[in-house]
């Protein structure tokens, strides 16, 4: 008779012990499996958040006295501020060479006149001179532009403005219809020079303007004209053409600091002219409760595993003491110590397999509740903060389409995550469980295995 057969006899005949052990192992494995599943769900959610929010940093033209290229020019009704050193394509390329940067969104805003275009009126009255003007946007690549990436507007016809495009523009479908324009037609932009641009794409707004929004006609998103950098160069040939703001997106937000450090050390960029700032705030805020949850889960797992190992060792040691007689008999009839220890191990293993199987169902039932219970405790503060800051955003008079408002509203919140126990976690449980069982059986068996057969037999009588 081999040790597996003996183990099976023991487990089936000593039913009270088997059931007790089953219950203990079931509780332990349910805890471990729940912990593993929550940990995994939380990691997945964090991963999703990272993908959704990304980590971003911005390079801005510095409008401070420290910038030697910074210029102010008085005009009729005020002053114009500009920098002789905008963010050129060369600067952008140099930054893009730093590993870990996924894409960039380069923009400049410019208020200029457009010939023969009837703009959609706003609800704030303006002087006549401004009626033929629009707040345009120069883009490096319109596809990466935050208006498009945030979903605020969507390209519904034609194509985006890309890196090498020249003399092209994207306008809103509504503006096009109002002026009988379509893709292929040209617009004439007026600045120092007048430049013709060809319409290559039409966009549509996701939702209509709020009636409450106070906005001038030139600030209306529907009147916005996107065009390329070459066009800007031609509009003001005396100045170096470049962007005001470039937002770079890191592939992994966690890498943001490293990337920025490298960018700051790029020798071919004159940092006196630019400022560098990070924006992974949104991610950090959204991920904070999840990170706390992860910490909790790790603690819970460690505590469960340690407590399990201790309880199991104690119980098995207690039972092993009652089995000294049996062990002596087995040794006396010539059964080896390895075979006896193997039997003890298989006994627990047989029950553990059952318990682990059951725990798949029990933890599936409890995991979601436990997880969201833990998470709620953690998010309460954060969510409150978010709500109040959201309120501020709503009441503040933010010009329409200032970008970011919508993006913030779309921020995924980690208020609840869905936890489901999968096979991967079950396999992990098996590894952890078997390690705990080997340890506990080893500890409990050691007491017996150190005895000599003769001593065991003399202890019997």
């Amino acid at each position: 008779m081999n040790f597996v057969k003996r183990a099976m006899l023991y487990v089936t005949r000593k039913r009270g012990k088997s059931i007790l052990l089953l219950v203990i192992l079931l509780i332990m494995s349910s805890f471990v499996l729940t912990g593993l599943a929550i940990g995994k769900a939380s990691e997945n959610t964090q991963e999703d958040l990272r993908k959704a929010l990304g980590g971003e940093f911005q390079v801005n033209v510095s409008y401070s006295e420290d910038n030697p290229y910074f210029k102010t020019e008085p005009v009729d009704d005020g002053i114009i501020m500009y920098s002789e050193m905008p963010i050129t394509q060369k600067v952008i390329s140099s930054i893009m060479n730093v590993p870990g940067i996924e894409s960039n969104d380069a923009t400049s805003e410019l208020l200029l006149s457009v010939d023969d275009v009837d703009f959609i009126p706003g609800n704030i009255p303006i002087e006549n001179a401004f009626k033929s003007m629009a707040n345009t946007m120069i883009v490096g690549n319109s596809q990466n532009n935050s208006y498009f990436t945030s979903g605020q507007i969507k390209l519904i016809e034609g194509k985006h403005i890309g890196g090498t495009d020249s003399h092209v523009a994207i306008i809103s479908k509504e503006l096009a219809i109002r002026n009988g324009l379509s893709i292929g037609n040209t617009l004439t932009l007026q600045s120092d020079n007048s430049v013709d641009v060809k319409i290559i794409g039409l966009f549509e707004m996701k939702s209509d303007d709020s009636i409450l929004a106070q906005v001038t006609s030139y600030d209306k998103l529907k009147n916005k004209i996107f065009f390329d950098l070459n066009t800007l160069q031609q509009l003001s040939p005396d100045r170096t053409a470049g962007f005001d703001t470039v937002t770079f997106k890191a592939t992994d937000p966690a890498e943001l600091e490293r990337i920025m450090e490298q960018v700051k050390n790029l020798s071919d960029i004159d940092w006196k002219a630019f400022s560098l700032s990070a924006d992974n705030q949104t991610y950090m805020q959204a991920a904070a409760p999840l990170e706390k949850l992860n910490g909790l889960v790790v603690t819970m797992l460690i505590v469960t595993v340690v407590v399990s190992a201790i309880i199991l060792s104690l119980i098995l040691t207690m039972w092993a003491k009652n089995r000294i007689h049996e062990t002596g008999v087995l040794l006396a009839v010539g059964i080896g110590k390895a075979s006896i220890l193997g039997q003890y191990f298989v006994e627990v293993l047989l029950i553990a397999v059952l318990a682990f199987g059951f725990s798949f169902f029990t933890s599936n039932i409890i995991a979601n509740d436990v997880c969201n219970g833990l998470l709620q405790k953690n998010t309460q503060n954060t969510v409150q903060n978010e709500i109040s800051s959201d309120d501020n955003k709503v009441t503040a008079a933010v010009p329409e389409g200032a970008g970011g408002t919508d993006a913030l509203a779309q921020t995924p919140k980690a208020e609840s995550i869905h936890v489901s126990v999968d096979i991967d976690s079950l396999i992990q449980l098996c590894f952890i469980g078997f390690a705990v069982i080997i340890l506990s059986v080893g500890i409990s068996g050691a007491t017996i295995m150190r005895l000599k057969p003769r001593e065991i037999l003399s202890k019997m009588s």
Binding site: M1, L9, L330, L331, V333, G334, P453, R454
Partner: protein, 212 residues
């Protein structure tokens, strides 16, 4: 030809108390040996040395001319000897058949039935059998293991006279008919009378008497 030999065997507990001193004896196949002696004289000690449950402080125990330590005591216990105890020492979560199968190299049921257990009894919970029946199971386990040597420590000590006589007969038959070397530690004169050879423990040594 001796199957089991003791050559100058001494045994000392805790390096102080000497129990056996320079014991030499030869045990043969087909004979029933009785070890006699007062309590505490070292009978169980002697038996455990023969059974490979313990090692002599001095001297050697040989099986078939070879020191039993050479292949390891566990090997000796598994292959050469079978032990029978006063308190039966059966595994309580196994039926008689399963207890017999523990180290069996033969079919268990026929042996048990030959020793007088019924078909129903051999599948019963071991604790629901009488002492005599349990000792029969222990003998069956010894026989089924195919070991050439059976070592029994006061096997009839817990049994009534009639049952004891039956068990003694079974042990004697094992020696004579099944060609085993059977060594029985006993206080009983009835058992001693049936033995072929008597080993009497006296002054830490043995006195060998062949009976006819």
């Amino acid at each position: 030809m001796a199957i089991l030999e003791m050559k100058g065997v001494s045994y000392t507990y805790d390096k102080k108390t000497k129990i056996l001193s320079d014991v030499t004896a030869e045990l043969e196949i087909g004979k029933l040996y009785a070890i006699l002696g007062p309590s505490g004289s070292g009978k169980t000690t002697l038996l455990s040395l023969l059974g490979g449950l313990d090692v002599p402080t001095r001297g050697e125990v040989l099986f078939d001319g070879e020191d039993i330590g050479k292949r390891g005591l566990a090997y000796h216990r598994r292959n050469h000897v079978a032990l029978i105890f006063q308190n039966y020492n059966l595994i309580d979560y196994m039926t008689p058949v399963e207890n017999t199968k523990l180290t069996a190299r033969q079919d268990a049921a026929p042996i048990l039935e030959r020793l007088g257990l019924t078909t129903a009894e051999i599948k019963r919970n071991i604790l629901k059998l009488s002492g005599g029946q349990q000792q029969r199971v222990a003998i069956a386990r010894a026989l089924a293991s195919d070991a050439a040597i059976i070592l029994a420590d006061e096997p009839t000590g817990n049994l009534d006279e009639d049952t004891a006589a039956e068990i003694t007969t079974l042990l004697k038959e094992s020696a004579h008919q099944l060609q085993k070397c059977v060594v029985v530690v006993t206080h009983s004169n009835n058992v001693a009378r049936q033995a072929d050879v008597i080993l009497k423990l006296k002054h830490k040594n043995i006195q060998i008497t062949e009976q006819t």
